[in-house]
Each structure stands twice: as C-alpha cells, then as structure tokens.
C-alpha cells in the first residue's frame, strides 16, 4: 500500500511538472499537432479507401506520436533529475528503486498518451474537414488507441528511463541519437506504411498488444537489474 502511494506521489509530481511547464507542454503539443496535421493532410485517397487509410494513420501515428512525446518528456524526467543530483537524494528515501522508476514512467506516459489521443482526434478532424462524407475510425483502431497505445508508451518510457538511469552520460548520448534516428525513420516511413496495406486488423492490434505486454514484462524483469550503485556511479 505504501509503495503504491509512493508510486502515485512520484507520478503525480512528474505529471504536474510537465503540465505546468510551458516549454515542455508546448513542445509536446507542437510536435503532436504538427505530425497529426501532416498525417491528416496526407490522407488523400478516394473516399471509399479513406476510411482504411484513416485507420492506418491512427494505428501507426497514435503509437508513434505517443512514443516521441514520451521520449522528449523522459529525458526531462529521468536524465535531468539524475544530472542535477535530485535522483541521488531520492535514492536515500524509503522509496524502492522500482517505485521511483515506475512512478516516473507513469507520470511521463500519461501526458504522452493524452497527447497521442489528442493527435488522433486532430487527424480525424482534418480528414473529415477535407472530405465530403463523414469518416469515422473503426472499433479496432479505437481499442488500439485506448488499450494498446498506453501499454506500449508505458513500456517504452520505462525502457528509456531504465537506460537513462543506468547508463553513463556518453552512452546515453549514443542511445539518444539512435532513438531519435529510429523515431524519425519511422515517421518518414509513415506514408509508405499507411498507404501500403490494410494495417488495422484484429490480428495486427492483438499482435501489437501482445508485443506491448511482452515489452512490459521485459521491463519488469529489467527492474531487477536496477542498482543504486550503478546509478550513482554514472551521474557525471
């Protein structure tokens, strides 16, 4: 019970910092807005195929935008606190390492997910604005946004947080560069992926859900390797 309170306290603190920090909020909203606009404008097929194309965009971009925003916010949460010494003080408190790590992941994942929902809504709006008929996302993609995407974001943020806590500054720079390259690569591939095929099938959604759950499981296993010594020794 105590551990649960502590996780919530940490998550709440991170969430409040993101929401009340104009710079952070703006960069997240700007990024999410920009990419959803671009995506919405890109849905240009025949009206019949637009429904499928919209679903594809949401399926792909929903996860990706959440991931990107989570990436931006996690650096502000884990890495910044590590470098400024806040984490070291936190490590002396009666909060387990796992609680610190998960609390922060939840605090980062929630606004990232909300922004990805916002992006999804924006994409739907843009597509409808440019269409003569009303085009609504399918049930599969809704389920995807509400269930799979948050699990995916939590797992991904926790993984990024893990590496930021456990790796040295130089290693983290390399990991950051790679993450950015992969994310931009994925964004650049958007059009191809979205137009190529029927992405959003039950199989695809269940597949991604299983992958996310697997990632969560992997993450919780990684929790065993968290070590105060390792974190403290890689501060500078």
């Amino acid at each position: 019970m105590r551990a649960f309170d502590q996780v919530l306290t940490i998550a709440h603190k991170e969430l409040r910092e993101i929401v009340t920090n104009r710079g952070l909020l703006f960069s997240g909203v700007f990024f999410a807005g920009w990419f959803s606009l671009m995506t919405g404008m890109g849905v240009t097929g025949e009206d019949i195929s637009r429904g499928a194309e919209l679903d594809n965009s949401l399926f792909y971009m929903g996860a990706l935008i959440g991931l990107f925003v989570g990436y931006i916010y996690s650096g502000q949460t884990y890495l910044r606190e590590k470098q400024t010494g806040i984490v070291e003080t936190l490590l002396c408190s009666p909060v387990s390492l796992r609680s610190i790590w998960i609390g922060k992941a939840l605090g980062v994942a929630l606004p990232s997910w909300l922004l990805s929902l916002l992006s999804a809504a924006l994409i739907v709006l843009v597509v409808n604005y440019r269409s003569t008929e009303t085009i609504m996302p399918g049930a599969t993609v809704l389920l995807h946004m509400l269930l799979v995407v948050p699990a995916f974001i939590v797992a991904a943020v926790a993984l990024m947080g893990f590496s930021q806590l456990m790796l040295g500054m130089r290693e983290n720079m390399v990991v950051n560069m790679l993450t950015i390259m992969v994310l931009f690569g994925a964004l650049a591939a958007t059009r191809v992926v979205v137009e190529e095929a029927q992405l959003v099938t039950w199989t695809a959604v269940t597949g991604l859900l299983s992958a996310s759950l697997g990632l969560l499981l992997l993450t919780s296993l990684l929790g065993r390797f968290l070590s105060r010594e390792r974190i403290v020794r890689t501060i500078s």
């Binding site: 603190k13 910092e17 009340t20 920090n21 002396c92 009666p94 909060v95 105060r228």
Partner: protein, 311 residues
Amino acid sequence: MTVIEAIDLSKSFGGPSTPPVLDGISLAIEAGEVFGYLGPNGAGKTTTMRVLLGLLRPTKGAVRVFGEEPGQRDEVRARLGVLFENSGLDDRMTAHQSLDYHARLYGVRDRRGRIDELLDFVGLADRRGAKIGTFSTGMKRKLGLARAIVHDPEILFLDEPSAGLDPEAQRMVRELLQELAATRNITVFLNSHHLDEVQRLCSRIAILHRGRIRACDSVENLRRGAGADRIEVRLSGAAQAARAAEVLMALHRLPHVGVDGEWVTTAIDGMATPEIVATLVRAGLDIEEVTRPVKSLEDVYFEMVREEGAA
C-alpha cells in the same frame, strides 16, 4: 548506543591496480553525537557518506547503520535524512511543493503543520509559493535542510553544508544546525573541509586524508594531543630565557630547543617535564610559567594533511 559503524571499510572504483579511494576506514558514532568528518577535497568524504547511505557497496569491510547493512531496507532509510551539496531540490517546484513531495514519500502525517513549522524554522515562510529556481544558493541549502528533516530523521547526513555559500549564509546554515543539534536528539554526520564550522558544531571529529583516517577524537583532545611532546617555559626575562636555552642544550638530550623573547620551548621526548624544571631551577633561573602548547585545530589539521602528503 552505536548508530553508525564502519569496520575496516575500503572502496575502489577501478580494478585491483587502481588505489582505493577509501582504505581501511573504521568508525563508531554514538546516538546524539555531532560528528565531523574533515578532509581536503578528494579525501573521500562524499564516498564514505554514500557507502554509509547504502548508495555504494564497500569493496572490503562492512558498514552498519542502526546495526544493519544500509541500503537494504526502506525502513532503515526512513530513519535517515540527507543533504548533499546540490541540495537535491527540483528548480521547477515551489518550496512548499518540494517539502510536500518529500513528506508524502516519507509518509509524514500532519504534512501541513510540519511544512509550516519547517519553513518557519529556516526562515522561508514568505517564499513558500516561490519556484526554487528563483532561490539563491543559500536559500536552496536552507530549504534542502528543511527537506532533509521533514520526516524528523534520527540521523542526519550533511555533505559540505556550507560549500559555495557566502559568509552570511554560512553562518545562517551553521546556526540552524546548532539549533537543530541542541533541540532535537539527532545524530549528525557532517562532511566538511571547513575547519571553523566543524570546530563550532562537532563534539568529535575524524580527519580524513587520501582515504585514511589520520585522527579521530574530540577537538580538545586533538589540539592537546598534537602538542603533547613539547613544553613552553616562561622565564623572568629574555636574558634568562637565553641562558635557560643554553642550559638545556648543554644536556644534549633535548633536540629541539628554541627561544622566543622570554619563552623557551623544547621537545620533551628526551626527558620528563619535572626533570627539566628541576634542572632550570638548579641553574638559578626564575621560572614564571610552564605550559603545554595547545595548537589550533587548523595547525593539527594541516600537520596531518601535510605529513601524509609528503609520505
């Protein structure tokens, strides 16, 4: 009751070829003590504190806090308060938010009352709603101190609490610590290279140099102990003093005899004090005063730090 204990503690950061940062540290600190851990930069003070806090594991030897290996149980950490040099505060939070955050994590009950009391104590009550990012280093340190004791810890670890502060802020922090030590039964482990601060606050100190404890005692004993091998004799005039020095040197048993005005100083490893005095009286000299020189802590400190440095 011993609350902090280090038994032959060593810590290395590299392989076996790199010299250890801490080399055979043994310490025992009793409940209620204000213990000063004194040493120059790089001596290993912060590293020792990290090991005691369970942030780092000993390479050799062991440490016990409340009789347990630290860093194992949350319950033990809940009884400790910590203030590192960087104060451990988030610039983006307000003073009140920061204290409330920590109070929640430590499960403090009457948070509101406790936070008001602490903000009052450190003199920041009127800045409770201000962002910490707007605070001076001194204010941050004071708020950091409030944060460190929000849960009323039994042991308070302080890492260079006055580092980077101007003299005015240094005094304020020192006075807060003095008041804290006087009014609460709290054990304090104070890292510092600030001699004056340690001398004013601590009941006992250890002098650390290059990962080894060079001395560990009360300030009084250290100062007296450092002069134990010398005496100073005041005679009734400079001429008498010069004559006394000649008499003592003629004995060929006292290697370091010196004169300064009406004072004669000598090392006493060759002879006992009563014997020296008797010799001078027999030579017809008028002795006004015989004392053991008491050195300042600064002298003692630099002697230990230099001696080791030369070795």
